[in-house]
């Protein structure tokens, strides 16, 4: 007599009862098998908890180290970039200063050139007309001398 028949004798005959008994038996076997598998697995999981914890801690430490290394690298890179930028700014300022100096030099040179040209300009002498007259007289005298000498021969 099955478990079913004991307390449910009313419909406990025929195909239906047989099928029900079979279903309940299969269900029991299924639960037993599932439980055995889960029971073994549960204890394995409990034993493996410590290594998992250690693994997680290892991962966490690794992540911290990697993050630290990466941030140190980033910081180093940032500092290098700052230095390079400062150097670029300094170079730019140096060039600008040189340009300004060059411009100032050129302006000074222009000014001096203008002063020189103003100072060195030849002004017409007040005696120049006289000098021209003298030069004309001298040439006339020379011509006369030449004529007189030629007639005496």
């Amino acid at each position: 007599m099955s478990l079913m028949d004991e307390e449910n004798g009313v419909d406990g005959v025929g195909d239906s009862a047989g099928e029900l008994d079979e279903a309940l038996r299969d269900y029991r076997l299924s639960v037993h098998a599932w439980s055995e598998a889960a029971y073994g697995r549960a204890r394995t999981a409990a034993a493996a908890a410590a290594p998992n914890w250690r693994l997680a801690a290892g991962w966490a430490l690794g992540c911290v180290l990697i993050a630290g290394g990466a941030s140190a690298g980033v910081w180093g890179h940032h500092r290098q970039e700052m230095k390079a930028a400062a150097a670029r700014v300094a170079e730019h300022e140096r060039l600008a200063a040189e340009q300004r100096m060059q411009l100032a030099r050129e302006e000074d040179e222009d000014l001096l050139a203008r002063v020189d040209s103003d100072v060195a300009r030849e002004v017409p002498s007040a005696l120049e007309p006289l000098a021209q007259l003298m030069a004309a007289d001298e040439s006339r005298y020379e011509r006369n001398q030449k004529k007189s000498s030629s007639s005496s021969f």
Binding site: E7, L20, E22, A23, D26, Y27, L29, A38, R41
Partner: protein, 191 residues
């Protein structure tokens, strides 16, 4: 006087040691069965493992008060049922939890069925029947489910179930009858 105190202390230590040994034997003998009941009832491996541990912890704390009026198994099962009841009562998300585990159970219940010496077709039919029973069990009330599982999975006697659940045998029988009727209806519908 001092010798008497020492003797008493030794006696107590010995009694404690014996009790510990007895309890260890009880754990070894019944742990798998308690776990199985909690697993089939909750359909959650982690929860079943936790409640099993709680059950034996509680049993250990109260081991001295166990008078042997029922078997150790019945006593342990009663603790397990109460723990489970408390757990579900305290869960605010009970509905969602049930919905989730139900979905898992219906999909997987038949997968654990040993093949035995059945043909492929018979195995398929058996799996389908196990799925149907699992579905009904998941839909039973907590009390009906406990009684059904104690009877058809743990194969406990009605008197034992009554003692474990704190109900009368008549009530146990009534709950069982309703549960079986639902299983039969489910199997009949799918035929």
């Amino acid at each position: 006087m001092a010798a008497g105190v020492t003797l008493n202390a030794m006696r107590m230590t010995t009694a404690e040691e014996i009790a510990d040994e007895e309890f260890t034997a009880i754990v070894t003998r019944h742990r798998a069965r308690i776990f199985r009941f909690l697993l089939s009832s909750s359909r959650d491996v982690d929860l079943a493992e936790t409640l099993t541990q709680e059950c034996f912890l509680k049993a250990h704390r109260n081991w001295a008060s166990f008078r042997g009026e029922s078997t150790a198994m019945t006593w342990l099962m009663r603790i397990a049922i109460n723990l489970q009841k408390d757990h579900w009562r305290n869960r605010r998300v009970q509905f969602w939890k049930q919905a989730r585990t139900y979905a898992v159970d219906v999909n997987e219940a038949g997968e654990w069925l040993p093949s035995g010496e059945r043909s492929a077709e018979q195995q398929l039919l058996a799996r389908e029947r196990v799925r149907q029973v699992s579905k009904v069990v998941a839909e039973l009330s907590e009390r009906q489910r406990s009684i059904f599982l104690l009877r058809y999975v743990e194969e406990m006697e009605l008197g034992e179930i009554a003692r474990a659940t704190g109900l009368s045998e008549g009530t146990v029988k009534a709950h069982l009858s309703r549960a079986v009727t639902r299983v039969r209806a489910e199997l009949g519908e799918k035929r």
